[in-house]
């Protein structure tokens, strides 16, 4: 479904991604780990289409489409979802209006009629249950005054509503206590099917106890330097990243 070839990207003239290659197939869970500053969040931003980054080389194919040529909103419609490390607070825009706009724009993209008010509310209710999101939050402004855990649950709630084919979870575990982590990971697992795929970006192995990866990649200095199975994550947890840094820097 996703085929990244030799991806290079800059921000403010500084090269962050220096040739990423990655293939993701339906049903797979990929974990991307790596030390701070290795380019993990940049990769997720570039895949979602953040205009702050410039792609200088490489291709990204998503179900036969040139993903890099699509606007962020069209990437979303095509089924790419990014769960933000730091979900943005939008004062004055209510969750309800935000979700209604998101759903109806997607339906418009596929030439479907907007959801009726009843259908919309029913959908919200169903999806909220997946991450135990409080109904009260629905009447508030997007993420405004949400706790860290509520923000992350809100991300997974949006993911549940939009039913993406590829979900990228950027440091979804950061700032979560153990209960919130279990709820968020539980939500992700409930949404897992053989037709969709997940890229989990994380600094720690902890999240991978809950969301089991099929592949673990280590990103360092803008490149994937190591790929393995779940056991690689455990090895990293035990030994840290220094041995990889040394191996790479020695080259």
């Amino acid at each position: 479904m996703l085929d990244i070839k030799n991806l290079h990207a800059n921000i403010d003239g500084k090269e962050i991604l220096k040739g990423i290659n990655l293939v993701v197939r339906p049903g797979e869970v990929h974990a991307i780990m790596g030390p701070n500053g290795s380019g993990k969040s940049t990769l997720s931003s570039v895949l979602a289409g953040n205009p702050a980054f410039t792609v200088t080389a490489g291709t990204v194919d998503f179900y036969g489409k040139d993903l890099l040529a699509l606007s962020p909103e069209d990437r979303s419609h095509e089924g790419v979802f990014l769960s933000f490390q730091y979900p943005v607070e939008i004062p004055g825009v209510s969750m309800v209006n935000f979700m209604r706009a998101a759903i109806n724009e997607k339906r418009k993209y596929f030439n479907e009629d907007p959801l009726s008010a009843t259908e919309f509310l029913k959908l919200m209710r169903e999806k909220r249950a997946i991450v135990e999101l409080d109904n009260k939050l629905a009447s508030r402004s997007v993420n405004e005054g949400f706790s860290g855990g509520e923000k992350k649950r809100n991300e997974i709630f949006q993911m549940a509503v939009l039913e993406p084919r590829l979900s990228i979870l950027d440091e979804t575990d950061s700032g979560l206590d153990i209960d919130a982590l279990r709820i968020v990971a539980g939500g992700v697992n409930k949404l897992k099917t053989e037709n969709n795929a997940t890229i989990v970006i994380t600094h720690y192995q902890r999240l991978l106890d809950y969301i089991k990866p099929d592949f673990v990649h280590v990103l360092y200095k803008g490149k994937i330097v190591k790929t393995g199975g779940p056991e690689l994550a455990l090895e990293l947890e035990e030994k840290g990243y220094d041995w990889i840094k040394q191996e790479e820097d020695a080259r």
């Binding site: 289409g49 979303s76 933000f84 943005v88």
Partner: protein, 447 residues
């Protein structure tokens, strides 16, 4: 100004013959001011972006003879607010018309009528208020006083509660370029609760108009008065509006000035808080694009103790629009325990739009709480990107953010039906769908 002096001198007998004595009485003083002063130059202290000379220099027609214009079609124009029934009145240019009888009588003693008519019938009553809160020092106010022949007089006696709002629909409509010198005289007694919604519109929009209006509001003791002033005119309309208000002890005045569609607008607000324990809320919203121009110049004078004022103005400027805000607050010596808060926030949506903002606080006292803040910025790029990743198009996301930006102004409206309506109008305006006839449910006359 010379053209206006010449016009007055040649038309004096016509003007005076068609106006009440009370209105004529002030013309001599007005003529002295107009003759001895000049319109302020652009770039000066209080007129940094607004050029009154170019606003007043074109040759406009003035209907001194009070020729009746065909009004039927124009008065079919309604500015409906769903779920809100009002006592409805019109100023067609500066001529008063009552709307269709609403079925419910105004409470006893309330007068809402033609200023000129009441000035003829009850000169003593009108004389108590006419020209009393307005200072004639400003050339534009003097000019209005020199040429004013009619407008509206609203008199709400003591201990009156108006259960529904008064709505005044002002319409500019002419077959030649027209200057109108409207006069709105509003006298609110003690222990009154009332609301007034003013909607400014322009018809026959291919012509140039100049509306040089003066609004005088006096609010009595322990009264609560709301004034909503909504401009949806045309890009060939110039509006120079000078509002003067005075507040007696314990009164609560809310003014909300909304500019949704306009050409060149200069609004002056001067509020004299004369009594203790008053509350003053002065809010404004402006949305402008193309080459529209909006200049709000505000002055709140705290003359006595224990009063609160809140001031909030927000602008969204796109294309080559220009905006200005001046917020002058004066706390006089001896006026202690004043709380005065002011904020002006602006969104600039293009490289060429310009905003000028200027807080001016003059405080001659120790025991006060005052704050002011001004920001000029763009839409939050992080919020935009976040919304786009959820499939919301850039255009729609910008709209949602701009609407959200205006939320606190809309929420400050103390009439639910009107704030719902405003929400809708702002949405229409931002999506470019708001046109004169667009949404008012009105059948405008063919243009």
């Amino acid at each position: 100004m010379k053209q206006y002096i010449d016009f007055y001198n040649s038309q004096r007998s016509t003007i005076e013959a068609n106006s009440a004595t009370i209105l004529n009485k002030l013309r001599k003083e007005a003529l002295d001011v107009v003759s001895s002063s000049q319109l302020p130059k652009i770039g000066g202290e209080n007129y940094e972006i607004t050029d009154l000379n170019s606003i007043f220099s074109p040759d406009y027609g003035i209907n001194a003879k009070r020729i009746d214009m065909p009004v039927d079609a124009a008065l079919a124009f309604r500015c409906d607010v769903p779920n809100m029934s009002t006592w409805l009145y019109f100023l067609f240019n500066d001529t008063f018309h009552a709307g269709k009888a609403s079925g419910i009588q105004l409470p006893e003693g309330v007068i809402i009528d033609s200023l000129n008519k009441v000035a003829n019938e009850q000169p003593k009553l009108v004389e108590k208020f006419y020209g009393k809160t307005a200072t004639i020092k400003n050339p534009q106010v003097a000019l209005n006083t020199l040429l004013a022949q009619d407008g509206i007089f609203i008199y709400i006696p003591d201990n009156t509660i108006l259960e529904r709002p008064i709505q005044l629909v002002n319409i500019l409509n002419s077959q030649v370029p027209l200057m109108v010198n409207r006069r709105l005289l509003i006298a609110v007694g003690d222990n009154v609760q009332a609301k007034l919604l003013i909607c400014d519109h322009t018809q026959n929009t291919s012509l140039n108009y100049l509306n040089n209006q003066v609004i005088e509001v006096s609010v009595g003791r322990n009264s609560t008065f709301d004034l909503y002033d909504l401009e949806e005119s045309s890009n060939r309309t110039s509006r120079v509006s000078s509002l003067f208000a005075s507040q007696d002890e314990g009164s609560n005045l809310l003014i909300n000035s909304i500019t949704l569609l306009n050409g060149i607008t200069r609004n002056d607000f001067a509020i004299e808080v004369n009594g203790t324990n008053c509350e003053t809320h002065l809010n404004g919203m402006a949305i402008a694009n193309e080459q529209q121009h909006i200049d709000n110049h505000t002055f709140i004078s705290h003359n006595t103790s224990r009063c609160t004022s809140n001031e909030l103005f927000k602008y969204i400027l796109d294309n080559e629009a220009k905006g200005a805000f001046t917020g002058r607050i004066l706390v006089k010596q001896g006026a202690d325990k004043i709380e005065a808060y002011q904020s002006n926030k602006n969104l600039i949506a293009s490289d060429k739009a310009k905003m000028h903002t200027k807080p001016q606080l003059e405080i001659y006292n120790d025991d006060v709480k005052c704050s002011h803040g001004a920001t000029i910025g763009q839409l939050d790029q992080n919020a935009l990107f976040y919304m786009r990743t959820r499939g919301i198009s850039e255009k729609e996301a910008s709209m949602l953010l701009m609407q959200a930006f205006m939320n606190d102004i809309i929420n400050s409206v103390r009439m639910d039906a009107l704030s719902d309506r405003l929400k809708h109008l702002v949405e229409k305006r931002l999506s470019g769908e708001l046109t004169l006839c667009g949404d008012c449910g009105a059948k405008c006359p063919k243009q």
